[in-house]
C-alpha cells in the first residue's frame, strides 16, 4: 500500500490579538528615496500598531506636506489618510478628532512642516493636549523642495553646496514640553529598538504624544558637515534611558530594580520601563526635562529617549466633555437643536 505523505500545511500567518497579520498594517509601495529615514519610521509604526493590536480602521493619518508627510500612504493602507496643506495638519487633526473622538490620530509631519511654516499651529496643538501621536520626521532640511535648511538645522551645519546654517535650531521637544504636551521624546530612525518601544508607549498614551525622530535625508543632508546624517547620529546620539514597553495585555511580571529603572504606568495599564542611564533623571519632572534638553544643546549631544511623561492632565476631548457618540455620526433627529430651543431663542429676541 502506498503511503501518502500528507502535505505540510502552510504555516498560518502570525496574527496579533485582533486576528490581523502584519500585512494588514502595510501600505502602498514607498516612493521615497532608498535609505531615507522616513521609510524606517514607517516600518516602526507598522510593527508597533500590529503588536499593539490597533484596529486599522479606527486610525486616521493626518499629515502636512513634504516627503515625510507623504509617508502615511506607505503604511497602514487600511487606515484613512489625510494629506492636508503645508504646516496645517494640527488644526485639521483637531477638527477631525473633535468631530469623532473614536478616531485614533497618528499625525506625520516634517521639520519644515512643523518648525517653519507650521510652527504657530504646532504651538497651539501642543497646548491642547489633543489625543494624537504627532511625529516629526526630522532631517533638518526641506527634502521635497530639494534640501534647503529648515528651522531644526543646527547652527554651523552645512549643506552639500557649502552653505552654512547661521541660526540656532528650534528644539521641538523642549517647546512641546513647555507648552503642555504630555508625552515627549526624541529618537533616531536608525535606533530600531528604542523607536519601537517608544512608538508602542505612544499608542498606549492618552493625550498629545510628540516624538521628534531624527530621520536622515540621504539625498540632501547625509554628508560630512551635516548634523542630521546617519554618521553624525551614530557618533553623537546620547540615550537618556534604555526604553522598553510592556503592553497591558501581556500580563508578564518582570522584576526590576527601582534604583536603576523607572516604571511609568500608562492609561491602559501598560508599563513604560526606562532603565536609567543617567541616575538623576526623572521623566515626570517637567522643569528638569527642559533643563536637561538645554544642557544637551550646550554640550552638543543629541539626547534621545523619553523626556517627559504626564498621565494626569485630561485630554482635550475630555476637557471639552465631548459626547461619547461622535458628532460626525449623530442621527438627524438630534443633529440640530429642537424647534423649542430655537423658538425660545426667538422669544428672547422679541
Amino acid at each position: 500500500m502506498a503511503t501518502s505523505t500528507p502535505e505540510k500545511p502552510a504555516p498560518a500567518p502570525k496574527t496579533n490579538r485582533i486576528g490581523l497579520s502584519v500585512l494588514d498594517y502595510r501600505g502602498g509601495k514607498t516612493t521615497l528615496c532608498a535609505g531615507c529615514g522616513h521609510n524606517a519610521i514607517s516600518e516602526r509604526i507598522i510593527d508597533a500598531m500590529y503588536e499593539m493590536g490597533v484596529s486599522p480602521e479606527r486610525v486616521i493619518k493626518p499629515s502636512g506636506i513634504g516627503c515625510s508627510s507623504k509617508s502615511p500612504a506607505y503604511f497602514m493602507g487600511r487606515s484613512h489618510s489625510f494629506n492636508a496643506v503645508h504646516g496645517r495638519m494640527p488644526s485639521v487633526a483637531t477638527g477631525a478628532v473633535l468631530a469623532n473622538r473614536h478616531l485614533i490620530a497618528l499625525g506625520v509631519s516634517g521639520d519644515g512642516d512643523t518648525a517653519s511654516i507650521g510652527v504657530g499651529q504646532f504651538i497651539h496643538l501642543m497646548r491642547r493636549n489633543l489625543p494624537i501621536i504627532y511625529i516629526i520626521e526630522d532631517n533638518g532640511v526641506y527634502g521635497l523642495t530639494k534640501g534647503q535648511f529648515s528651522a531644526t538645522a543646527d547652527m554651523g551645519s552645512t549643506l552639500k553646496t557649502g552653505v552654512i546654517n547661521d541660526l540656532p535650531p528650534i528644539d521641538t521637544c523642549a517647546m512641546a514640553i513647555t507648552l503642555g504636551a504630555t508625552f515627549v521624546g526624541r529618537s533616531f530612525s536608525g535606533d530600531k529598538k528604542q523607536l519601537h518601544a517608544m512608538m508602542k508607549a505612544a499608542i498606549a498614551h492618552k493625550g498629545t504624544v510628540m516624538l521628534d525622530v531624527v530621520s536622515p535625508c540621504v539625498t540632501f543632508n547625509d554628508h560630512e558637515g551635516s548634523t542630521k546624517s546617519y554618521k553624525y547620529m551614530k557618533d553623537h546620539e546620547e540615550p537618556l534611558q534604555e526604553v522598553s514597553f510592556v503592553p497591558a495585555f501581556e500580563d508578564i511580571a518582570i522584576d526590576y530594580d527601582p534604583g536603576t529603572t523607572i516604571e511609568v504606568t500608562m492609561h491602559d495599564g501598560s508599563r513604560l520601563r526606562l532603565r536609567k542611564l543617567e541616575e538623576e533623571y526623572d521623566p515626570t519632572k517637567r522643569i528638569q526635562a527642559i533643563t536637561r534638553l538645554n544642557e544637551a544643546h550646550e554640550k552638543g549631544e543629541v539626547l534621545t529617549g523619553v523626556f517627559y511623561v504626564n498621565s494626569k492632565t485630561p485630554t482635550f476631548v475630555d476637557l471639552l466633555n465631548m459626547t461619547e457618540e461622535p458628532l460626525a455620526t449623530l442621527p438627524e433627529s438630534v443633529v440640530r437643536p429642537g424647534r423649542e430651543v430655537l423658538e425660545q431663542v426667538m422669544e428672547e429676541l422679541r
Binding site: E57, H102, E332, V335
Partner: protein, 596 residues
C-alpha cells in the same frame, strides 16, 4: 409713500447709546411694528462718535431711510453734527444743562430737558438718556404701561432697586414731555403682529444651528464676531462644538478637519481673515470636503475701516484659492435671508462636495431687522448628499481597496465616506489624485488622469447651476429704469424704486443673490428688454459690474457706487438715477450727508 418714523441717537462710545436703542426697538416690535436699525460707529472702545438710527413703521422697513424724525444727541458733538439733518416736523430732545442747540430748520421742535431737576444725576450717570427715551415715547403717543414693561425687563437682571429707579426716571421724562412738548403729528400705530429683532450675525448663526451645524470655530474679527458670540452663548443649549482658534488659518483648516470627519461645520470672518483662509479653501475643493465660510465684508483694503460697510470682497471670493474648482457663492439679501441662506448653501455644498461661501457685509451682520418668526423654518430639509457614515446593507462593504472615494461619475459627485468606516478607508490628499485617492505624482504625473479628475470635479458646476434658481425681475416689466444690485442693497433699491415711481419714473429691480452660479444667460434674457440699466453697488470699482461683464459681456447704461463706508440711503439712488436720466453722467457717487 409708506409711513415710517426714524429715531437717531448720537454720542460718544461708552455714553450708553445702545440701551436706549434696545428699549426703542423692543417697544416698536412689541407694538407689532417693523424696524430696521443701523449703528454707525468707530473702532474704539470709548470716545469717538456713534450714531444709531432706528426706523420703524407698520409696513416692512428695509433700510435706514432718508429722514430723521427724532434726534437725541447725548453730547454737544452729536448736536453739532446732526441737528442740521432735521427738517419740518422733526424734534430734538437734549440735555438743556450740558448741550446748546444750534440753529434748526423751520418747523423743527427743540425740546430741552432740565435733567438735574427731573432726576438725581449724581446717582445715575445715564439719567439724561433715560429721560430722553421717556420723553420721546410720550411724544410718539405710546402709553406709559408699555414703557414701564420694557424698562422693567431691560433692568430686571440688575435687581428691583435698579428697575424702579429707571422706571421712575423714564416716568419723569415722559410726564415732562407730556406737559411741555408738542406730540408728533402722527402717533405710532399698533398692529397685532409680534416680531423678533435679529442682527444678520444672529440670523446666520441660528440658520447654522437649524441646518445642523455641529462644529463652529472662529477668530474674532469685526463685523463677523457676532456669529461667534451667538455660537458661544448657545453652544450648550444648541449642542454645537464651538472653538476660538489661534488664527484664521487654523480656523478654516479645523473646520475642514471636522467636516472631513463628517459633521456640518462653519466659520465666519471678514476680508482679512478670509485672505488667510484662501489656501485652506483650496484644500476643501481638492478633497471635495464641504465647508461653509462666511465673509462679513468691511471697508478694505487691509485693516481698512473695521466698523464700516462695503461690498468690496467680491473678487476676493471669486478668486479665493488658486486653480479652478467648483464653489458656490451667495450674498444674503436681508437679515431674514441671512438665516435662510445657511441651510440652503449647506445642502448644496454637501450635495456637490465643495466649499460654500456666504458673502455678507457689515450692514446686515450688525444691522438689526424685525423678522416674523413664522418666516423662519427651524427644521429645514437637511440633504447631506452621498455620504457614507456607517456600513449599511445599502452601502455594502468593499473589499479593502475597492472603494473609490473620487470615482469618476457623470455628475462629478463621488460617494463620500467619512474616516473610520470599515471597507471605506482611503487617502484624501491635496495633491491631485486618482479615483482611489492615491496621489498621481506617486507614479508619474499622468496627464490623462489629471485631466479626467479635473473634468470630474468641474462637471459639478452644471449640477449646481441646475439646482439654484436664476434671479428674477421685480416691478413693472417695461419700466423706464432697471436697477441692478446684489446682496444687502436689496431693501434700499426697492425703496428707491418706489420713490421713483411715486415721482413718475417707473423703475424695476434685478437683485442678485447667487453670485456663483450666476446664471448669466437668464440675466441677459431679463436685461435684453430693459430700457435703461444702472448697477448699484457699495464699492469703488464696480466689482459686480465687472464680473457681470466678464461672464456675459453685458454693459449697463450707468453705475451708482458708494465707498465711503456708509450704506446707501434711498435718496442717494433716486437722485443719481435722475442725474443719469438727465444725461450728465454715467457714474454717480452719492455723498453721505450724515457725518459719522
Amino acid at each position: 409713500m409708506k409711513q415710517t418714523f426714524t429715531i437717531a441717537i448720537g454720542g460718544a462710545a461708552g455714553q450708553g447709546v445702545a440701551t436706549p436703542g434696545d428699549i426703542f426697538a423692543k417697544i416698536f416690535s412689541r407694538r407689532g411694528l417693523h424696524l430696521n436699525a443701523y449703528n454707525a460707529y468707530q473702532s474704539i472702545i470709548r470716545g469717538g462718535h456713534t450714531f444709531l438710527t432706528i426706523r420703524t413703521g407698520p409696513e416692512k422697513v428695509t433700510n435706514m431711510g432718508d429722514r430723521l424724525d427724532l434726534l437725541i444727541p447725548l453730547n454737544q458733538d452729536a448736536m453739532n453734527r446732526h441737528l442740521g439733518l432735521l427738517t419740518n416736523g422733526a424734534a430734538c430732545i437734549f440735555n438743556a444743562e450740558t448741550i446748546k442747540p444750534g440753529a434748526a430748520a423751520e418747523g423743527v421742535a427743540l425740546c430741552p430737558l432740565p435733567v438735574s431737576k427731573l432726576a438725581d444725576i449724581t446717582r445715575n450717570k445715564v439719567a439724561q438718556n433715560t429721560l430722553a427715551v421717556g420723553a420721546g415715547l410720550s411724544m410718539m403717543g405710546i402709553g406709559f404701561q408699555a414703557v414701564q414693561e420694557v424698562f422693567t425687563e431691560q433692568f430686571k437682571k440688575k435687581g428691583e432697586a435698579v428697575v424702579s429707579e429707571n422706571v421712575g426716571i423714564a416716568r419723569a421724562g415722559y410726564d415732562y414731555a407730556t406737559a411741555n412738548f408738542k406730540p408728533f403729528a402722527r402717533p405710532l400705530p399698533m398692529t397685532g403682529n409680534r416680531y423678533a429683532v435679529l442682527s444678520g450675525n444672529t440670523a446666520m448663526a441660528m440658520g447654522g444651528a437649524a441646518a445642523g451645524v455641529k462644529f463652529y470655530c472662529a477668530y474674532p474679527m469685526s463685523p463677523s464676531t457676532g456669529v461667534l458670540h451667538w455660537m458661544a452663548a448657545h453652544a450648550r443649549k444648541a449642542g454645537i462644538m464651538v472653538r476660538q482658534v489661534e488664527d484664521e488659518i487654523g480656523v478654516v483648516n479645523m473646520a475642514i478637519g471636522a467636516a472631513h470627519a463628517g459633521v456640518r461645520s462653519m466659520c465666519a470672518t471678514s476680508g482679512g481673515g478670509f485672505a488667510l483662509m484662501s489656501e485652506g479653501l483650496g484644500m476643501s475643493a481638492m478633497m471635495e470636503t464641504p465647508v461653509v465660510v462666511i465673509d462679513c465684508q468691511r471697508a478694505g483694503p487691509s485693516t481698512g475701516v473695521p466698523t464700516k460697510t462695503e461690498q468690496g470682497d467680491l473678487w476676493q471670493m471669486l478668486g479665493a484659492a488658486f486653480g479652478d474648482y467648483p464653489r458656490v457663492l451667495a450674498a444674503p439679501l436681508d437679515i431674514g435671508d441671512c438665516f435662510k441662506i445657511i441651510p440652503e448653501i449647506f445642502n448644496i455644498a454637501d450635495r456637490f462636495q465643495c466649499p460654500g461661501l456666504v458673502l455678507c457685509d457689515l450692514l446686515l451682520s450688525e444691522g438689526r431687522l424685525s423678522v416674523d418668526p413664522k418666516d423662519l423654518d427651524f427644521a429645514p430639509v437637511i440633504d447631506r448628499g452621498e455620504l457614507i457614515t456607517t456600513v449599511t446593507a445599502a452601502s455594502g462593504t468593499h473589499d479593502n481597496g475597492g472603494y473609490k472615494r473620487y470615482k469618476i461619475t457623470e455628475s462629478g459627485i463621488s460617494p463620500r465616506a467619512i474616516p473610520g468606516v470599515p471597507g471605506y478607508t482611503h487617502t484624501a490628499a491635496t495633491d491631485e489624485h486618482e479615483e482611489d485617492g492615491v496621489l498621481i505624482s506617486d507614479e508619474f504625473t499622468n496627464p490623462t488622469k489629471r485631466r479626467a479628475m479635473m473634468e470630474k470635479r468641474m462637471r459639478k458646476v452644471a449640477g449646481i447651476e441646475a439646482v439654484v434658481s436664476p434671479p428674477a425681475l421685480v416691478g413693472p416689466r417695461n419700466a423706464e429704469i432697471t436697477l441692478i444690485g446684489w446682496g444687502s442693497t436689496k431693501g434700499v433699491i426697492e425703496e428707491a424704486c418706489e420713490i421713483l415711481s411715486d415721482q413718475g419714473i417707473s423703475a424695476n429691480q434685478l437683485q442678485i443673490r447667487w453670485l456663483v452660479p450666476l446664471h448669466g444667460e437668464a440675466i441677459l434674457d431679463i436685461l435684453k428688454d430693459a430700457r435703461h440699466t444702472i448697477i448699484v453697488e457699495n464699492n469703488y470699482s464696480g466689482q459686480f459690474a465687472r464680473y457681470l461683464r466678464s461672464e456675459t459681456s453685458y454693459v449697463p447704461n450707468g453705475y451708482i457706487r458708494k465707498y465711503d463706508g456708509e450704506p446707501f440711503m434711498p435718496h442717494h439712488i433716486v437722485e443719481a438715477v435722475k442725474e443719469q436720466l438727465g444725461g450728465t453722467t454715467r457714474l454717480s457717487v452719492p455723498a453721505h450727508e450724515i457725518l459719522v
